[in-house]
């Protein structure tokens, strides 16, 4: 049943671009990009138990690096992606080193603080980043596939490129969470003290998890700037960091696909709500509060529990 459902979903993800309108295609691309971003965040939150309010820093660092490389060099898509991921990797190494020095509450404060530090740098360093105007008007890099060079500019091509990275992220995270590393970070989430007592270097594993999450967020950032054709400071603002937080909570932070479901629901809600009002954030806050209080498992988590309960009764 589950496998059939998954297969059906996967096939429809591959087939629907050939039938859908342009708007839906772009919408789906953005959701996939943010699913990668939210999944990377949830490696920290749902799996390691660390709530980060500064995850957009790496999303932005990846994105800005990619745009700067596209501006100043003639590199292809893949080298740009790799170099941008490296930039996100190193900044996550440094910022993560400071953030995991104290426990969870400090972690939340420090990630918010250092996240806003990155925002301040991006916002003030006009000569490099264009300040509040951001960077746009660059030519999209080409994708080299074996011997052919493909333009990533057609929306359909870009959708499939994004879909590829989305599926790769899912596979990678699945393998990671099933590995000994995945078991260790989950044991840290459940009980950091006991994990430390059995000999786990808690802050080291938290750091590694932070770096992997940051690097993945950087990849999502690269996809986003080439999708949006622009890098702007809003990419690194704390309101951007809030997005994966809300998506994961909405979908269910303890469920593997929770952040993805959350991203889909988030975008559909945003689309509906912003047609009526500009005050989207107040609306978000008003759904976040009851979800936190009454449905801490999110949509998918609550659904899974409900199904398990019904099975148990039979």
């Amino acid at each position: 049943m589950r496998k059939a459902l998954a297969a059906l979903l996967l096939v429809s993800l591959f087939v629907f671009p050939f039938f859908s309108e342009m708007f839906v295609l772009l919408f789906a691309t953005e959701i996939l990009i943010f699913s990668i971003f939210a999944l990377s965040f949830n490696l920290l939150f749902g799996c390691t138990g660390l709530l980060s309010f500064g995850h957009a820093a790496f999303f932005g660092i990846g994105g800005y690096t990619a745009v700067l490389l596209a501006y100043h060099t003639h590199m292809g898509f893949i080298p740009i992606l790799l170099l941008s991921a490296v930039a996100a990797f190193f900044s996550a190494c440094i910022i993560g080193f400071f953030c995991v020095r104290r426990d969870e509450i400090y972690f939340a404060m420090l990630t918010l603080g250092f996240g806003m530090m990155v925002f301040t740098v991006v916002h003030q360093w006009r000569s490099l980043t264009g300040g509040s105007d951001g960077l746009s008007g660059f030519s999209l890099p080409e994708l080299s596939l074996l011997f052919a060079k493909v333009s990533i500019s057609p929306p359909k091509t870009f959708y499939f490129l994004t879909l590829f990275f989305f599926l790769a992220t899912l596979l990678f995270l699945k393998r990671l969470l099933d590995s000994p590393f995945g078991l260790i970070i989950r044991s840290i989430r459940e009980n950091p003290e006991r994990s430390a007592f059995i000999g786990v270097n808690v802050s080291f594993y938290r750091w590694v998890s932070f770096v992997i999450a940051g690097t993945l967020a950087g990849v999502a950032g690269v996809l986003f700037v080439f999708y949006d054709r622009m890098a702007s400071p809003s990419m690194v603002h704390w309101t951007m960091s809030a997005r994966p937080v809300l998506m994961s909570i909405l979908g269910g932070a303890r469920s593997f696909l929770g952040p993805v479901i959350g991203a889909v629901v988030f975008y559909i809600l945003e689309y509906i709500v912003t047609q009526f009002t500009e005050n989207w954030m107040i609306f978000l806050g008003c759904i976040l509060v009851p979800i936190v209080i009454f449905f801490p498992d999110g949509i998918l988590g609550s659904l899974e529990k409900w199904i398990a309960k019904r099975r148990g009764r039979k």
């Binding site: 509450i105 003030q124 954030m281 806050g285 976040l288 509060v289 936190v292």
Partner: protein, 287 residues
Amino acid sequence: MSEITLINFLNGLCYGMLLFIISVGLTVIFGVMGVLNFAHGSFYMVGAYLALTIIEKTHNFWLALVLAPTLVGFLGAITEVLFLRLLYERDVSFQLLLTFGLLLILDDGVKLVWGAGYHSVDAPKLLAGTVNIFGTSYPVYSLFVAAAGPVVALVLWLFFTKSTYGKTIRAAAMDREMADALGVNVKAVYTAVFFLGSFLAGMAGVLAAPLRAIGPSMGDKIIIAAFIVVVVGGLGSFPGAFLGAVILGLVEAFGVQFAPKIQMALPYMLLAVILLVRPRGLLGREG
């Protein structure tokens, strides 16, 4: 001491004392309840906006200084009773998320009520104008804010060490179950503490109103500064909040003078250095 150094020193003290009043509210709530309030900066912002309305209606700054913080305090108390109370048994993350949701609501909510533009408020007549210090003129109001910090510190210190209420709060902070067993109404204590912390945030908002532009993003900026203060000073420590606030205030003020290019990054450098050499904060307890 040159003129500009003196002025920067006073500016640093003024900003530092404002930060102290905010951070001490954050640290009181954390010290007693173990809750970090992400919406604390938004409470500060709401305090400033309420002051704006009260001053526009009544032209009385002193009324605003009493009324606005009280209203913000009640906002905090209502939050605690309606929402936060349901989450004490759960993981800390959920408390953080709840206060974060509150931040989203308040930040957008003030735009609905007061619009997205920036506002300003005049200093009260009694404190308007400038005073001559060693041949430099300096606004009286800033001196007033710098003096308000130590007064708040003294009042809080007296409250927590001398009064029965203060001692009760400290008892509940030290050992919740024991206090409960001895007949302390811990639930009421928590609500009162949230009132007090939010009151302090609101008061800082009123004090800041004549100094800084009142706008929808003023809360975000200050909450990050307050986080830096409490990490540097030690979360949950009173003297730590005072020391951290003075240091950060002076760092920001002298940063403008001596290192204008990296001035924006200085608070974060301070934060990074403290985390490296003394992760529990300057006056923070072990643990």
